[in-house]
Assembly symmetry: C2
């Protein structure tokens, strides 16, 4: 049996609405390309599961999904019933860390037909990757509180950067830039203000850049870099960033290209020792959940990233072409893009375009 074994986790909110559209597209492209999938659905990593079981995941979650070829993930979080840090640290952040998915790869691309909030930008002008460190940095669980409920109350949390963790994400970014035309890496820093970890990040960037003389490497502090995303999105090719900075830049980038509703993410373990996870950049969006109006393109584009990772580049390219064709048609645009199409209308249109 040559089928790709996929663990499917829809999660919460609009995750439950967009994942079925992603699966529909995967089935369609499989029949065109002669590949096949076995989908195993899991109900954990959701706030419903938490409310029933008192934990986001069963104790043996690693055994249940660790043998799959990839995880196709929707979104998690329902702050009305479970605090976000509980739901996220109990699921998505566990996957990233325990499956050592240390690369969070997020393409930012202005697509034909998608109205950009920026004036005077056209498809082709914006086309870059955010390469985000995905396991350490500002997302650490070390810290705590002392003197609660007094004037002396203090809360601390560590940022942790390791040589191994920083070097491997930088290497991934430089290798990616090496394969691209512009051969340009931009590092996000804040070494003027965050005075210990960020100068270290800069130091490792310099060391890595020395190994890639053909690559042009520059750096900006995160504040002005965010400004440049708005004012000069055409400057970027591969942007490498710490966990938190990458998180911010990979929502900001897609906002500049029209909507975070279409942005995909790959949480990748490049050594393939563990399954990688593919998900849209957007979250569970409680404000629009249950209405059938969420944009499924982020989920579908994530399916394309997954196909690439599974060694099905032709299928991935077909899905991307279908996405471009659909985005160009106003009648298939969901509300975030100024249209009136439903989640299902848009998903079916991608299938038809295939």
């Amino acid at each position: 049996d040559n089928a790709h074994r996929i663990a499917v986790i829809a999660g919460d909110g609009i995750g439950k609405e967009v994942v079925p559209e992603g699966l529909r597209v995967l089935e369609a492209v499989a029949s065109r390309c002669g590949c096949s999938f076995r989908f195993d659905h899991f109900d954990f990593a959701s706030c419903d599961y938490y409310l029933q079981h008192g934990a986001m995941m069963p104790a043996d979650w690693k055994a249940q999904i660790g043998g799959h070829d990839a995880i196709f993930f929707g979104a998690v979080g329902w702050p009305a019933t479970v605090p976000d840090h509980v739901s996220l640290w109990g699921s998505l952040i566990q996957f990233r860390r325990e499956f050592d998915q240390y690369v969070n790869l997020r393409p930012v691309k202005l697509m034909p037909g998608v109205p950009s909030p920026l004036a005077n930008r056209k498809p082709g002008d914006i086309d870059f990757y955010v390469v985000r460190e995905n396991t350490e940095g500002e997302y650490s669980s070390i810290g705590g509180r002392i003197f609660p409920d007094t004037d002396r109350e203090v809360v601390v949390q560590e940022t942790v950067m390791t040589r191994i963790g920083v070097d491997r994400i930088l290497k991934y970014a430089f290798d990616l830039a090496q394969r691209r035309d512009r051969k340009h890496v931009t590092s996000a820093t804040k070494s003027n203000g965050i005075s210990i970890t960020m100068p270290y990040w800069d130091e490792r960037v310099e060391a890595m850049a020395a190994l890639y003389p053909e690559i042009r490497c520059d750096k900006y502090h995160i504040d002005i870099l965010a400004a440049h995303f708005v004012q000069h999105p055409d400057w970027f090719d591969v942007v490498v960033a710490s966990n938190l900075f990458g998180d911010i830049l990979s929502d900001l980038g897609p906002a500049c290209t029209g909507t975070i509703g279409i942005a995909p993410a790959g949480n990748i373990n490049p050594e393939r020792r563990f399954p990688s996870l593919f998900e849209p950049v957007h979250g569970s969006a409680p404000d629009i959940a249950g209405q059938g109006i969420a944009n499924p393109i982020g989920q579908i584009w994530s399916a394309a990233l997954m196909l690439d990772h599974l060694g099905e580049p032709r299928a991935a390219a077909l899905v991307l072409d279908a996405i471009e064709a659909v985005l160009a048609r106003p009648e298939y645009r969901t509300r975030d893009l100024g249209g009136t199409a439903s989640t299902e209308d848009c998903g079916k249109a991608v299938v038809d375009a295939l």
Copy 2:
């Protein structure tokens, strides 16, 4: 002698070019309003000073400027000769901390005549404040490195939030919103990922909001909030944020309104136990320094914020009117605004408009 005593520190790079324009405007408005200034110039808090003295400031810097009514500051940093964390932690960050300037107040406003990179936005659409915590949070000096130059190398840095520090910045933000029409506070958080300090921030926001029932209070995670700055800048009235998040948002906001070259900042000690410091949001900009092309409006607008703080609201309003008049005239626009005016042309135009 009723003169306001101002400590003037031009610093590095374009700081040395824009500060004189700010002073020119202050002199002009003084003669119109019957107030007066005594300017004391200091050469420390600059990288030149560092190269001569081996420190950014003399040991008695607090005595030298601590008795002034305000500090009028340009920009500091010259990474080609002094690493940014050395120059900044040896000067600006010291001022903020030692003079307990715990509020960093940064207006974001789309001005008539300033071309915005956002499509379809006009003056009046964007008009809000970023209220940034300015003394603690992510900008702590606690941390260090272990196992240098080995595979085990680890670097850590603490984020530190105190009850007193968080509550006072929130109170400032809610009080400011109270005086505004929309009475709306937006809190920047990241409690889904930064799992210890940020849930604490949220908790204090909730406690403060309970004391201000007339104020509408919402919160967004920093990643989607950055996206909303681009897509819905009209949503915001008062945005309150930690030190790092406020730093990012207050460059991003001005980028959305056209240029960070016009954005001002007040580093304020509301209790007036110490001098407050007024500076443009932009930095020393080594890339354009020495060419006389920097936009002086950020510095001049900072002078207006300073006038307000010094109890000269009429003078402040006159300067703001003059800024608006000049920005509306294409011939006085500097290069960042697509024009060809020099720093001096633009500064003199503001004086003439007065």
